[in-house]
Structures are given as structure tokens and as C-alpha cells.
């Protein structure tokens, strides 16, 4: 029996049809509006929040018809107000750290996914800080602890040292806060699912525990008490991100989710549970943006998976469990863009590249992503 693989455009078409039915969205190509008029309506000071819907979620568990039950919050709260791209293609290496680094640099990185290495190309944070002469406090990354500690700053000789984002690793922070006896927190310290036994030495621009109090105005005791009420590492990340937004209000905030990657353990129920949690957290992030005076009305939220996962029909893989085959489903994802000046309830089918993200952020925050391999996504500028 031949089990045909879907093509990228088929995947895109399925998403579009479903969204049209479910959320009343329209096809982007049918709309036309003057870009000059749109620019005139935008606030002068803009911010960008990027959320990677990770690590690795497939179409059929998110925006395909059968996946709708897993993303009710985004469908209800975000899609009707967003421009949705049905076909975001990742042509790079499908490992979470290297793929996220590629998203952050706008160039396909080839660094070892499992090593504690900085990206080789300049990150969006470096472009922004160097060109706009912004302080380090204006760009932040909130990331799962393992491996992602170097993502804020490249080793590019024209950028790099001192120009990157500050990085918070909430799990690392929690581990430091609970120096001993952490039975109440074990669920928040879940590890890298792809390589559960690997914990790299932490190095780079890390957030220090004492800065909880000075920067986030949060005592260690309060942090620990609140952490007890949370159920997963990504919930901890979003809690810290919201605190950052309130106390520091960076112009460029990058939040990397990772709960979904439990799929590597082969347990479908936990994978789907991770998607549902991430869906809820994305909606919470948008609500925080709308309610924070520093963000409301001037922030663009961009949500996209770092990549998908293997198709059920690819004999080289084992379905949802991994992202090893490089098949169409594992390379094709989606993008939600929401914020001032972005058309609401619109779907675009054309293929965009995942390295287009950084030039797009550059157009919003007025920097030139000169080394990026991508180009700005015109429909949301």
C-alpha cells in the first residue's frame, strides 16, 4: 500500500480551509490596502514579542481540522485578530536549538544542536542593539534551560560580545533558588526530552539569581511560592516573561516554549497535552501584551513552531515522536502575526521561509538584518 505524503501546498490549503470555516477569516490575496496608510496608523515606538511554539508541533495536532480541539484559545482569541500564514517552510536542520538559533539569526545555522555554542550569524538582538544603539535591557530571551543559554548572542566578529540579548533560563533560576530539597518543584524542572541525559555547562549571558529582586522585583521566596502553583516548565517561562514585561519592558522579547517536545518519549497523550498547554500560554501572553501599558497598542506578537514533526505516513520515521526524516510535514509550519497595523482575520497561503522572521522583525523595529538569508514578510508590515 502506498501512503502518500502531503505536499506543502496541501498542508497550507487544509489550514486555510479550516480557519476560514472555524474563525471566519478571509484569504489575504483578496485584500488590498495602501501600505502608506497602514504605516501612518502605526505607533512610533514599537515592540516585538516572538513565541516559538515548541518544540515541534504538527499540523494535524494544531491547525488542521482534527487538531482544532487542541488549540481552542488561539482559535478564539488570536486568529480572528491575526494574519495567519499557512505555509512557513524551514529548510534547515531540524534540531530545536539549531532551528531556534536559525529563527533568531535569519540564517540557517549549522552549529551542533547538542553543544553549548553560540550562533554563527548575528542575531536579531545584535542587529537591533547595534543599529538602534539600544541597551542590553531592551532585548531578552526566555528559554528552556538546556542548550539555549547561548542563543542571545552570536560569535560573529562584527557583532557578538556585548551586543546580544540577556537570557533568562527559568529552570536554571528555579534550580538555583531551591538549593536543596525540591520535591515540590520537580515537575517544573523537566529536562531536554530529545536528550534527557544531557545538561551542558551553563555559560554566557545568564540571568543571575540575585537579579530576581533587583530587576524583576521578585523575592526568591515569592518566586518559589508562585512556582509551586505552576504545572510545567513553559508555565514557569511565561510567568518570568510576564514579570519581565511588567518590570523591564524590553522592546524585543523572545520566548521559547519546549513542553511539546515530550513527544520524543513516544507518549502521544503527553505531546497533545503539551500543545494544549502551549495554546493556553500563547493566549495568556497576548492578554498580557494587551494589559501592560508599555506594550498595549504598540506590540507585534509573532507565534510560530520552530518546525513540525514527522508524518505518520513516512516509513523512515515514527510519526509524531521525532523530527528526523526531513519530510514535508516536519518542515512546514505556520505563523500567527497579531498587533497594530496587521490585518485581522486574514490567511496567506504563499510560502514564506522561517528565515524571513528576522528581516520582518527588522522592518518593524527599524534595523537591517544584513546577513540574513530571508526577506521581510510584506503582508504584515
Amino acid at each position: 500500500m502506498t501512503l502518500p505524503e502531503p505536499t506543502s501546498s496541501q498542508i497550507a490549503g487544509t489550514r486555510r480551509d479550516f480557519l476560514r470555516d472555524a474563525a471566519g477569516v478571509v484569504l489575504g490575496a483578496t485584500l488590498a490596502r495602501s501600505p502608506l496608510a497602514r504605516a501612518a496608523a502605526l505607533p512610533a515606538s514599537r515592540k516585538v514579542v516572538v513565541v516559538t511554539f515548541g518544540g515541534g508541533a504538527r499540523d494535524q495536532e494544531t491547525f488542521a481540522p482534527e487538531g482544532q480541539e487542541n488549540v481552542p484559545n488561539m482559535l478564539r482569541d488570536l486568529i480572528p485578530r491575526a494574519t495567519f500564514f499557512t505555509q512557513v517552510v524551514n529548510r534547515g536542520i531540524l534540531g530545536h536549538y539549531v532551528a531556534t538559533a536559525s529563527l533568531a539569526t535569519g540564517a540557517y545555522e549549522t552549529i551542533n544542536n547538542f553543544a553549548s555554542l553560540p550562533p554563527e550569524n548575528p542575531t536579531a538582538f545584535e542587529y537591533y542593539r547595534k543599529e538602534r544603539k539600544r541597551p542590553s535591557s531592551d532585548t531578552w530571551v526566555v528559554a528552556p534551560s538546556n542548550g539555549f543559554n547561548r542563543i542571545g548572542e552570536s560569535n560573529h566578529r562584527s557583532y557578538g560580545a556585548g551586543l546580544g540579548a540577556r537570557v533568562i533560563l527559568p529552570k536554571h533560576l528555579l534550580a538555583a533558588a531551591i538549593s536543596r530539597g525540591h520535591a515540590d518543584y520537580e515537575h517544573l524542572l523537566r529536562d531536554n526530552y530529545e536528550t534527557p541525559y544531557f545538561t551542558p555547562d551553563l555559560a554566557g549571558n545568564e540571568f543571575e539569581l540575585q537579579q530576581l529582586e533587583t530587576l524583576l522585583k521578585l523575592s526568591v521566596d515569592d518566586f518559589k511560592a508562585h512556582a509551586r502553583t505552576l504545572s510545567s516548565p513553559d508555565e514557569l517561562s511565561v510567568y518570568i516573561a510576564k514579570r519581565l514585561m511588567r518590570q523591564v519592558a524590553p522592546s524585543l522579547l523572545w520566548i521559547t516554549m519546549h513542553d511539546i517536545d515530550i513527544a520524543h518519549a513516544g507518549t502521544y497523550s503527553l505531546y497533545v497535552e503539551g500543545i494544549r498547554r502551549t495554546d493556553r500560554l500563547c493566549s495568556e501572553i497576548w492578554k498580557a501584551i494587551e494589559s501592560e501599558p508599555e506594550y498595549a497598542g504598540k506590540t507585534t506578537l509573532l507565534i510560530l513552531p520552530d518546525f513540525g514533526r514527522d508524518a505518520d505516513t513516512d516509513p523512515g520515521g515514527n510519526g509524531f515522536q521525532h523530527h528526523r526524516t526531513g519530510d514535508v510535514l516536519s518542515r512546514t509550519t505556520w505563523l500567527i502575526a497579531i498587533g497594530p497595523g496587521i490585518r485581522e482575520g486574514v490567511v496567506h497561503d504563499r510560502a514564506v521561509d522561517s528565515v524571513d522572521l528576522v528581516p520582518t522583525i527588522g522592518s518593524i523595529l527599524k534595523f537591517s538584518a544584513s546577513q540574513s538569508e530571508g526577506k521581510p514578510i510584506g503582508e504584515i508590515l
Binding site: A115, Y268, Q321
Partner: protein, 401 residues
């Protein structure tokens, strides 16, 4: 070293039958591209520990390569020839460590953006091989059975959603003696058509009483092996400089004796079981992952004509390090989560069964253990249908067997 430089004595570390297969075909192997040959050697190096179906398949593939003219071989492997390899890969000892070479080749393909080209070459080669080498039809139509939901008292969401479009859904199955009837049906097939490794029973817990003619693998039965494996993994993780790739390579080299496995007297099956634990992902800690992976590997490698797979509850999720560290103490189980895992696992079992020869005649049953719902798929079963007829398991099986 390049394939053209191969010599027979370089294969001295291979087991006898593997060595014989290589040396008899050395002149052919010398003409194969380096991006292709180690993938073949990775299979051949374990030839002595492979199931009969795998051996037959390898024999046919090698014979086919030998049968091709030089020009035909060039056409078949053109996509592989065009893959650019590094000098490090050329220097690698791929004769003795083909699996490790493949890991490094995979890294190389990703980082040099040649993965798609390799994937295309591999697909084209597989398609040609599929056409050139006649697949052996199974001696009887295959029968797959998936039993899911052990320990779940009630579940009000729809089950078998991915399987239902391919067959008939029954909502009033009498569950009495259901498992017994299914295992007896498997045993009956084994008695009538006895061939080694043709009839399997995989259990995610401790196996139910079953006929000795069934090749049995169970998560419960491997408990002592898993305990040693987890201890070994922890010891290795503690070693300075140990990283995930090194650990994976190390684990892939572990044999039954490294894990203090009590031999079943069947070295092929012993090694198969160890590989489920050393090469699977999540199989060491979650019984549902183990069960699905064991079924996938049994189908892919042994190509059984009968496969009964019974999922059991897995442990509740904890931190990954905790789960890896747990050592046989009482585990808190997650029956509902396990049911969802197994529902998807049953679908994967069917997909994997349908990849084998004879798919058009194959049949499949998935049943919610001790409950009334089941789905049946087979050539004579109308697709996407539902029935509320009251029937027992024997009657249900009569639809397809």
C-alpha cells in the same frame, strides 16, 4: 578509505554468515558509492542475528546489486554518487562501525543541506528495488490485533478515530473472554502455519497466558534488563565528557550480556529485545512507548503474519531524570493517558502492517479491553461504517479471519 579499496580481510570481525555474504560479493561492493555502502553494511554486520525475513530481504538486495550491469548500477545509484562527502567521512572506519558512520553521515547531510538530495536518492533506489525484487506474499493474510485501555474503567471520548475510516466500528462487543479469544485465535494460526517468528504476542505489562508457539516480548518480562540498563546509563552519564551522541553510540553497542540478560536460548530474539531498549526512545521508561516501538520493529524486521499487541498502563510523567533514575519501586500509573497513547499506537500498528507485502489481504482488529468498542479492518469490511449489533469476540473475528 573508499569502497574501491575494500579487501576481504577487513571483514574479519564480522560474524560468520555476515562475513560470507560480504566476501562473496566483494567485487560488487567495491563499485558502490561511499554514501550508500555503509548503510548496506549496517544491516549486513548483524546478519547472523537477523530474523529470517530480514535475511531473505538482504540476500535479495545484494543479489540484485550483483545482477545489475555496471551501467545499470550507475543509474540506480546516481543520486548517491552526487552526494559530496567530507574527507573525515572517507577516513572513518565504516567497515567496522557502519552505524556510527551513518550517524556522522546524517550530521553531514543536515549541515551541508544535502539531506533532501539523499532522501530523494534513497527513495528512488527503494522504489526501483521494490519493482525489481518481488516481495514475498505472506503464507496467510496478515492479522494484526491491538488491545488498548487496560485498567481504564470508563472513557467517554471517541476512540479509534484514525482507524474507523478504514473499517467498521462496533459499539456493542461483548468483552467476556475477549483477550483469551484473541490469543487463542493467534495460537490457532501459529499451529496451522508454523514458521519461526511468524506469530507474535507483545505485551506492555506482564503477558497473559499464551501458547508457546507465539514469539513473546513483554515490558514486564524485561524489567530486570531495564533496571540494569538504567543503572548503566546513569553511570555513563556521570562520566566526565559524556554527551548525548556518545551515550547513544555507546548504548547501541550494548549486547544482552552487557545488561545481564538471562538468555532465552534464542540469540536473535535476545538481541532484538535489547535493541528495543537501547535504540528506542522512551522505551526504557514508558511501557506504551515500548509496546508501540516493539510492534513497529517486529513488523518491520520479522514481518509476522500474526501480531497481537496489548498495551498496558505506563507510569505517570515525572521529570525525565527521575524516570530514568527510578529503580523498580511502586510506580504511579496513568491509565487514561496510556489509553490515548495506545489509541495512537494501534493506528501506527495498522500503518506499519500495511507497509508489508500482502496489505490488500491483511486484516486488523483494535479493541478497548474489557469494554464494548472495537474497530475491524479487512478486505471484506466496508470502510467507514458503524454497527450496533451485539456480538462477541469470536463473531467479531469472523468478519476478517
Amino acid at each position: 578509505m573508499l569502497p574501491s579499496e575494500l579487501k576481504a580481510e577487513q571483514f574479519n570481525s564480522y560474524a560468520p554468515q555476515a562475513k560470507a555474504l560480504v566476501t562473496q560479493n566483494l567485487s560488487v561492493f567495491r563499485e558502490l558509492p561511499l554514501s550508500f555502502l555503509p548503510g548496506l553494511l549496517r544491516e549486513i554486520i548483524d546478519y547472523d542475528y537477523k530474523f529470517p525475513a530480514e535475511r531473505r530481504s538482504l540476500d535479495k538486495e545484494v543479489a540484485n546489486l550483483a545482477r545489475l550491469s555496471q551501467e545499470e548500477r550507475r543509474q540506480w545509484l546516481d543520486g548517491f554518487v552526487k552526494i559530496k562527502l567530507s574527507s573525515e567521512l572517507e577516513r572513518f572506519d565504516w567497515v567496522n562501525s557502519p552505524a556510527k558512520f551513518i550517524e556522522q553521515l546524517s550530521d553531514h547531510l543536515w549541515t551541508t543541506h544535502q539531506l533532501d538530495a539523499f532522501r530523494l536518492a534513497a527513495t528512488q533506489y527503494a522504489d526501483r528495488l521494490h519493482e525489481a525484487v518481488t516481495a514475498e506474499a505472506p503464507m496467510i493474510p496478515r492479522l494484526g490485533i491491538a488491545v488498548i485501555g487496560q485498567g481504564v474503567e470508563s472513557y467517554d471520548r471517541p476512540l479509534f478515530r484514525k482507524l474507523r475510516p478504514h473499517g467498521a466500528y462496533f459499539s456493542r462487543v461483548n468483552p467476556e473472554n475477549g483477550l483469551r479469544i484473541l490469543l487463542d485465535a493467534a495460537a490457532g494460526r501459529a499451529k496451522e502455519h508454523s514458521e519461526r517468528y511468524a506469530h507474535w504476542y507483545i505485551d506492555g505489562g506482564d503477558p497473559a497466558e499464551h501458547d508457546a508457539l507465539l514469539t513473546c516480548v513483554s515490558y514486564g518480562g524485561l524489567e530486570p534488563v531495564r533496571a540494569v540498563l538504567l543503572r548503566n546509563m546513569h553511570a555513563e552519564i556521570e562520566r566526565p565528557g559524556m554527551g548525548p551522541e556518545m551515550l547513544r553510540t555507546l548504548m547501541a553497542g550494548w549486547r544482552p550480556s552487557d545488561l545481564a540478560m538471562k538468555s532465552t536460548g534464542d540469540p536473535v530474539l535476545d538481541r532484538f529485545q535489547v535493541r528495543l531498549l537501547t535504540e528506542g526512545s522512551g522505551t526504557q521508561i514508558f511501557s506504551t512507548s515500548f509496546t508501540q516501538w516493539a510492534a513497529r520493529e517486529a513488523l518491520r524486521r520479522a514481518e509476522p503474519v500474526t501480531l497481537v499487541v496489548r498495551f498496558a498502563p505506563r507510569q505517570r510523567q515525572k521529570t525525565m531524570n527521575e524516570m530514568l533514575a527510578s529503580g523498580g519501586e511502586h510506580l504511579e500509573l496513568d491509565p487514561l493517558g496510556s489509553l490515548v497513547d495506545a489509541d495512537m499506537g494501534a493506528y501506527y500498528n495498522w500503518l506499519n502492517q500495511q507497509r508489508l507485502p500482502g496489505a490488500d489481504r491483511a486484516a486488523f482488529v483494535a479493541w478497548f479491553e474489557d469494554h464494548n468498542s472495537a474497530v475491524v479492518i479487512g478486505p471484506s469490511v466496508p470502510r467507514g461504517t458503524e454497527s450496533n449489533e451485539r456480538l462477541d469476540m469470536n463473531k467479531l473475528l469472523s468478519w476478517i479471519v
